[in-house]
């Protein structure tokens, strides 16, 4: 089946830095300098303590599958991956046999091109 086209949408003013880094192959996560927690999805304001003192830091790109679902008709495997840094992010699992995937499995980040200039962070079995 042909690869599906990834619809990017629009860059939010809160996430310009993330997507510019993605263009260089770098995966960033947002960390709060006040409570030291990493959250997802990235926000200017920490969802744990509401501090505006947040910063982008490099993510390891390593994680484990929290849950996933495969839609054969759409050639799509949606998932939550729990990042090494703590939070879980919605993503797709790609370049794999979807029928062989397991919850808890180690995965690593890959950027996949979208219909815009920005690549999108996805995961593949580690």
């Amino acid at each position: 089946m042909a690869d599906r086209v990834i619809n990017f949408g629009e860059v939010s003013p809160e996430s310009v830095e993330f997507w510019n880094a993605a263009k260089e192959g770098k995966f960033l996560v947002k960390k709060c300098k006040s409570c030291n927690k990493v959250h997802w999805y990235p926000r200017a304001i920490c969802p744990f303590c509401m501090s505006a003192d947040t910063e982008w830091v490099a993510g390891s790109g390593k994680g484990k599958i929290y849950s996933f679902s495969h839609m054969a008709r759409a050639n799509l495997t949606i998932a939550y991956v729990t990042l090494e840094e703590g939070p879980s992010m919605m993503t797709n699992i790609v370049d794999c046999d979807a029928n062989a995937l397991k919850i808890g499995q180690d995965v690593k980040l890959v950027f996949k091109p979208s219909d815009k200039e920005y690549p999108v962070p996805m995961f593949t079995p580690a």
């Binding site: 939010s12 997802w40 990235p42 969802p47 744990f48 929290y66 849950s67 996933f68």
Partner: protein, 389 residues
Amino acid sequence: MSLKGKSYIMGAWEHPTRKATDKSVAQLHTECAIGALADAGLTKDDVDGYFCAGDAPGLGPLSMVDYMNLKVRHVDSTDVGGSSYQVAVGHATEAIAAGRCSVALITLAGRPRSEGMATGTAPRPGNPAQPDVQWEFPYSPTVVNMYAMCAARHMHEYGTTSEQLAWIKVAASHHAQHNPHAMLRDVVTVQDVVNSPMVSTPLHRLDCCVISDGGGALIVTSPEVAKSLKRPKIKVIGLGEQPKGQMGGMVDLTYSGARFSGKAAFDMAGVKPSDMKFAAIYDSFTITVLMQLEDLGFCEKGQGGKFVSDGNLISGVGKLPFNTDGGGLCSNHPANRGGITKIIEAVRQLRGEAHPAVQVKNCDLAIAHGTGGSLGSRHGSSTVILERE
């Protein structure tokens, strides 16, 4: 101040249509309003509060109040998806208790079937200002694959099986055979469900609800107005609502906001799950029902699979008759929002007006629970407990 007993549901009406090609959404809302008012024995001029949600066209209450030419002094359009209508009963009760209105009209209607909407399987582009869209839309989240992830995680943590989930659909189909308006009236078996096409692992086609046009309406009144009417008095004794999301990334798909909305409602009512004679539980998917039953306290977390098996949800067979109209799984999911039809079937049961084949004997206490949005990302939970007076 407790809201227990501060309001009554005196009118309830479900539109019989399941496909309304030749009707507008506003028209369907209004037909539902007419039906509920007639059921209550009231007229449009008695209505002084109007409640609707995101399915109402245009500017919600402004558009609909103008279309129906209502003269109201209180409106509310809280939108928490399919759970909005349990919330509306709660907010109507608050407004009535505060003296803001005495006859509240709640309407829902829509026509996704006529409009050819692929409700469950097509990603819906959100408004770019919606803060999560940037981080989710590229991954093609759909209604079905988000609920499917809840099911997959439940199976992983608790050993829940597809066969156990299938029992929920089987029970709904047993009830739907008696509902002449139900979209799917054939009784199905566990094997039929697990052998139906896989839509999004681990959910099969028969784990999913129908896509239907239609709607429904409710009339919620003050105790004084209720006393003046001839219909059986269905007292609102328990209310709870709570949204739940991804919690900053601390995602936990194993439970829903029902854990909180249910507790609030049971605490207010002073009753417990085992007191319920009938349960109307939002059934967008089989997994929705299973998780809500656990979270509302009908069984321990993780035991939902065992609880729903072997016909335990079938009226006259099991211990907890549910969705005796066939629910969203078989009868109706108007406007892709099933909250109001849950309340309507609970009212039918409490009045003794359900189909005789599924009517619960001495049905004096019932729960109607709604889930809106997506259990897999962010959702609303809302609970109403009703008592026949």
